[in-house]
């Protein structure tokens, strides 16, 4: 099964703020345990007690880890698509193909007001805009062919101009010419993670996402949603395995390691998901409990993979594309 950890870096009230050394220690422990990826939360939606914004934190974490996937949340309201595509393409090169972008399909209630859009967006505008935005970002990530860079000093050919492609996107909300001024990623494109899907977002996600995070519910309802998403992916012409559907689980220390492992195993056996997204709050105690008790319990039952098969996040997730497939 696939295992992601979502780390909410904003500290709970009264807790000491997680500094870089504490966060990096936790991510290295998750790496040692074979976790596929750690997703860093981010919100420009209101005050945060964390000193860090997610993409900058991801870049720093990339230099102190080797294998684990690193995903940062970044909002479609806070960034222009060209700038966001550059940031993540660069993060993917810094991490040697381990980066992902987590885009939420839910509109932050306060965010637009801090980004010179006091009127906000209607839900349908936000959805159409987000879909267009995702298409632009994924298109920009593919602007350079994998073999475009020649580095031919004597011939004076740095790259092959035939292998650099303009995007020339002109849409309802954006027009972006391209190409990106960042090279192609070692895993072809950073991984796209989508969450907070409403009914109307499901087809967008099935068309574009590499990983979909679903809220937890009963095993039966999870199964229904899982099958539905895989069907939609096939209808969009994709291999159902090209979209990984992870069920989000809030980790409650009181449940005990055995009960948590039971819960995951039951869901997995029912084929209601491709794996789990464990949501951890930024409490020192929660991080410690998870590493010391839950991860060993999951490993004992063979639920977490032993080591990493490849070096890119796509290879951890058994997704097609680039790197060491």
């Amino acid at each position: 099964m696939h295992l992601a950890i979502s780390l909410n870096i904003a500290a709970a009230t009264g807790e000491a703020v997680l500094d870089f050394s504490r966060i990096s220690k936790f991510v290295r422990q998750a790496e040692a345990a074979g976790v596929d990826m750690v997703a860093i939360s981010d919100t420009a939606d209101g005050p945060s007690s964390s000193p860090f914004e997610a993409t900058t934190l991801l870049a720093a974490l990339a230099t102190v880890t080797d294998k684990i996937g690193l995903v940062a949340a970044a909002s479609t309201v806070a960034h222009q698509p060209y700038n966001l595509a550059r940031r993540f393409a660069s993060l993917d090169i810094i991490s040697h193909g381990r980066a992902g972008w987590h885009a939420t399909m839910a509109q932050g209630s306060r965010e637009a007001a801090n980004f010179s859009r006091p009127e906000g967006f209607s839900d349908t505008d936000f959805r159409r805009r987000a879909e267009e935005y995702i298409g632009i970002v994924q298109g920009l990530w593919q602007g350079w062919d994998a073999d475009a860079l020649l580095f031919d000093k004597t011939g004076g050919r740095f790259h092959d101009p035939e292998k650099m492609h303009l995007l020339d996107h002109k849409g309802e909300f954006f027009s972006v010419r391209g190409p990106l001024n960042v090279a192609r990623s070692p895993q072809d494109t950073p991984v796209l993670v989508l969450s907070d899907l409403s009914e109307a977002d499901l087809d967008i996600a099935a068309r574009t996402a590499d990983v979909i995070l679903l809220e937890s519910g009963s095993v039966d309802s999870a199964k229904v949603r899982f099958d539905d998403l895989k069907r939609r992916a096939m209808a969009a012409g994709r291999d159902p395995d090209a979209v990984k559907v992870l069920t989000s689980i809030s980790f409650a220390p009181d449940d005990g390691p055995a009960a948590t492992a039971d819960r995951l195993e039951t869901q997995l056996r029912a084929k209601s998901c491709d794996g789990f997204n464990i949501q951890l709050s930024a409490q020192h105690s929660a991080l410690g409990d998870f590493v010391d008790h839950i991860l060993p319990a999951l490993r004992q039952r063979g639920l977490v993979q032993e080591g990493y098969r490849g070096t890119t996040l796509r290879s951890h997730l058994r997704l097609d594309g680039g790197g060491d497939q």
Binding site: E53, L57, A78, Y82, I94, F151
Partner: protein, 415 residues
């Protein structure tokens, strides 16, 4: 203690020389190699530089794909992510990046730089620029470039919002270009606020700098030019209630240094010979904001130019130099391709130190932004040859005294 000069290491992929990437010893894969940048930052830190500096553009540098493919400038790291990686791989050196006010929002930019500042323990700086490139504009839905004055009005409001957010200003902003409702939410900067850097040299650019900048990067070819700029900018500061010492003025300098002068000249010629004519002319054209320079005879003089909405101050600099030195288009192109209009010194460590000392002690500079012609070789050469010479002369620190970039630069901590 006598005043010490400030030094920046301007990192740019394979090097500042347009043909740097073709040099046999240049690290040609710099634009996709994070370890290369970590090594450069550590070299600069070991030499006690105040900061490393990264430029930025949100688009290709060159519209002509054939020309672009003969340079290494079409791909590279996005600088905020790059510096965030460097932040935890270094411990003392300042980390400054360019970011444009044209295609960002102040709330997002303020958050990102403050996060970099926290990651680095108070070593971050933002170099404010406005974007003049139509290539960039086309990536942001823009139908045309904004006039120079409008870009700077937006930049002024942008800088005001960002500094307000960094200083923990609680009330919202509702202005001409931007509206922001909430404070940032992130804790205050370890150095009070990230350092504000600017580079615009036009009249409105100078006023904006006099009002808001902590550091100003500038391009000057001669002592007189640098001195005039220095005096003018420092003279404007009183209007805004600031002391001359509140801004550090750092001209760009592209040194080619070696054990002997002959060796240095040879190194320089080796690089110049690697510049293809079409690349040199294209680069010169973009600096002059004109598109048809290739129509004119390459060994003839520069034609009369219309005033552009692009980089006004840069254009004047090129024109003045071509008339003064009677340079042909080819000569001018090679000259500019070499150091991009910045000051170049070719010589021994003592000769380079003499020149830097003359500008510094003559009141034309508070320090220098060093632009090595290729990496890593020319940064190494400056660090091992010129820095010890400056230290011997008491012109540069032997070790860091502070922890934050503001402390390195001797800047006041904002209230």
């Amino acid at each position: 203690m006598t005043a010490r000069m400030k030094l920046g290491a301007f990192l740019w992929a394979t090097g500042h020389h347009i043909a740097a990437w073709r040099h046999p010893k240049a690290h040609v894969t710099a634009g996709i190699d994070i370890d290369h940048y970590i090594q450069l930052a550590r070299t600069a830190e070991a030499a006690k530089f105040d900061m490393v500096f990264c430029e930025d553009a949100a688009g290709l540098r060159e519209a002509n794909v054939g020309i672009a493919s003969q340079t290494s400038r079409s791909i590279g790291f996005e600088p905020i992510s790059l510096l965030s990686a460097l932040a935890v791989q270094t411990s003392r050196i300042g980390l400054v990046s360019t970011a444009s006010t044209s295609y960002n929002e102040p709330y997002g930019l303020a958050r990102t730089f403050l996060s970099l500042d926290h990651l680095s323990g108070g070593r971050a700086g933002w170099n404010l620029v406005t974007s003049a490139s139509p290539i960039e504009a086309a990536n942001f839905g823009s139908t045309g470039l904004k006039p120079h004055a409008d870009r700077y009005e937006r930049a002024r409001e942008f800088a005001e919002v960002v500094t307000g957010l960094w200083h923990g200003k609680a009330s919202g902003h509702d202005g001409q270009s931007f509206s922001v409702r909430d404070p940032l939410g992130l804790p205050r900067s370890p150095q009070g606020a990230p350092v504000m850097v600017q580079a615009g040299a036009s009249d409105v650019g100078r006023d904006l700098a006099a009002r808001t900048a902590d550091v100003v990067f500038t391009a000057a070819q001669t002592f007189e030019e640098a001195k005039a700029f220095y005096d003018d900018l420092k003279g404007r500061m009183a209007t805004y209630g600031r002391e001359p010492d509140d801004i550090k003025i750092m001209p760009g300098v592209s040194p080619v240094v070696a054990e002997t002068e002959a060796e240095a000249r040879e190194k320089h010629e080796e690089l110049q010979a690697l510049i293809p004519d079409d690349v040199g002319v294209a680069l010169l054209s973009s600096y002059l904001s004109i598109s048809d320079l290739w129509r004119y005879p390459i060994d003839g003089p520069l034609p009369e130019l219309p005033e552009s909405e692009g980089m006004k101050s840069r254009q004047a600099l090129v024109v003045e130099q071509s008339r003064r030195d009677g340079l042909s288009i080819r000569q001018l192109a090679r000259h500019f391709a070499g150091a991009r209009g910045h000051w170049r010194i070719v010589g021994t460590a003592a000769q380079v130190a003499d020149e830097l000392q003359a500008w510094f002690e003559g009141g034309a500079a508070d320090g220098f932004n060093v632009m090595p012609s290729y990496f890593p070789g020319e940064l190494d050469a400056f660090a091992t040859l010129v820095v010890p010479e400056l230290q011997r002369r008491g012109l540069f620190r032997r070790d860091y005294e502070g922890r934050t970039l503001r402390e390195h630069l001797g800047l006041k901590r904002p209230a």
